[in-house]
Amino acid sequence: MSTIVKPVNQKAWWLILPVILCVAFSAIIPLMTVVNYSVQDIISPDNAVFVGTEWFASIMRDEDLHAALWRQLLFSGAVLCIEIPLGVALALSMPSRSWRASAVLVIVSLSLLIPWNVVGTIWQIFGRTDIGLFGWTLARLGLDYSYVGNPVHAWLTVLLMDVWHWTPLVALLAYAGLQSIPEAYYQAASIDGASKWAVFRYIQLPKMRGVLMIAVLLRFMDSFMIYTEPFVLTGGGPGNSTPFLSQYLTQKAIGQFDMGPAAAFSLIYFLIILMFCFVLYNWMLRVGTRDSGASHD
């Protein structure tokens, strides 16, 4: 954008009012309910005692929670490190015209459209060494692979499954971002004698900054909250292990049918994600500003 400052216009609130109504209607009331539950001990539907921050304190002291939290961060980190570059590379190699573009678009998007429990189910069979292609191949290669017995294998399988399932999200966003770059930029770069790498670094990557930020935030959030796919795959983790934070919290809280701690866990979960996203968001904005100088705020 070439103008440095956006005009101040409080009337713009009218334009965002529908959005606020939609989301607030869906979000604020339930949120208030959750906060309400989180500070009470609900012994029975009619008997609820106010306990303040007792649930929150006990959660924060929980050692197992800390371990689960680190494992989850590692998972989300791995997801981002693999899916973002892979998605961008995929977007760069997808054709932009003709029937080929349409066919590739459809094939790439297929994995996104499968309900998550079915994804888990497919990989459940897929990973079995007796009847699944993936497991069978690994066994034939001499690897002692078992996602059922070995927590590390389970963790890695979920990672692979996630990469297979969600990289197309990054790719589609990056692809759309690439397609919006006007032809003139490439023409100018050609005239300036820029190398293919320079075109990527100075034109394509900067112009994809917006979509990449969305991709990073989305993938972080969704991978941090991941529940269905690993649950279906492992039925709750090999043995007693619970590699994923969501499983850990679900087991602890809902397994005991206790609304109070459950609500408290939900809030803490939310706050952790919020904090990381906030940090990521501001970091990416600052990096972008230093580079491009045109932040959208």
Binding site: W13, L113, W164
Partner: protein, 272 residues
């Protein structure tokens, strides 16, 4: 035309490799759908030993199965239209104007996606029961706005901010009214963003299970909920699930097919 292929030969190899990677599990699912349960569990085979269409026959003939697809399609399309319609003006506001609290509201929108939907189950259940909207398509369509609207706003805003303000100003100087400018000039310029936002709204709503299952019982039961029928005390009905899963891909593939012109080869900046 300018050749901007990034290492063309390697690019094609990489693309083909990825496409294979993407298709193999899908191939696996499709193969499973043509087997029987015994066939799946008995042995490893790349191709069905006993090829059967029974799974598809079951789904396509039983209304309690195929109505699931219809229901899902209804509320997903409703949601997609509403989300985009509401997100477009908001994204424009965030992109073009600065106003009190704009940065905070923008970030707040995204926070609605930061909670596992399980948190909202009980409150939503109570809310929609009170409103008398339980087991309707409207309930699910509205509930899904929670996570789709922020996503649509974020995506659209990103694309809109890529269009220089001079385009807006030149159009006003040329005498365009705002609606005419928005529809005939602005939207075509951001059509990649609209295409991808629409597809994502479709996709996230289509696959969402928890809310959709909680808010419906009979009339509006979506396919994602019906598919869980395959898990029962007598074991998993893998084959039917695979067939249902394969059929699930079809509407989404059609949607992508329709928006492909929007996503691919965005409008190049031409004469204003």
């Amino acid at each position: 035309m300018t050749d901007r292929s990034f290492l063309p030969r390697k690019r094609t190899v990489f693309l083909v490799l990825y496409l294979v990677f993407a298709l193999v599990p899908i191939y696996w699912m499709v193969v499973m759908s043509f087997k029987t349960n015994q066939g799946i569990l008995a042995e490893f085979s790349l191709f069905p030993r006993e090829f059967t269409l029974d799974n598809y026959r079951l789904i396509l003939s039983d209304p309690s199965w195929y109505m699931g697809y219809v229901n899902s399609l209804i509320y997903v399309c409703m949601n997609m239209v509403m989300a985009i319609a509401v997100a477009l003006p908001a994204a424009y506001a965030f992109s073009r104007y600065s106003f009190l609290g704009d940065k905070h509201v923008f970030f707040w929108l995204l926070t609605n996606r930061m909670t596992p939907p399980a948190v909202f189950l009980l409150p939503f259940f109570q809310l929609y029961t009170t409103l008398g909207l339980m087991d309707t398509h409207w309930a699910v369509a509205l509930a899904h706005l929670l996570f789709n609207v922020p996503l649509a706003v974020w995506i659209l805003e990103g694309f809109m901010s890529g269009i220089p303000r001079e385009i807006d100003e030149t159009a006003y100087i040329d005498g365009y009214s705002f609606p005419r400018f928005f529809l005939t000039i602005f939207l075509p310029l951001i059509k990649s963003g609209v295409g991808v936002a629409a597809f994502f709204c479709f996709m996230f709503s289509w696959v969402e299970l928890l809310l959709a299952r909680t808010l419906t019982s009979v009339d509006a039961k979506p396919i994602v909920a019906i598919m869980t029928r395959t898990v029962s005390a007598s074991g998993m009905d893998w084959a039917t699930l695979a067939a249902a899963g394969t059929l699930t891909i079809v509407p989404g593939a059609i949607v992508i097919w329709f928006v492909r012109h929007y996503i691919a080869k965005g409008f190049a900046m031409g004469r204003v």
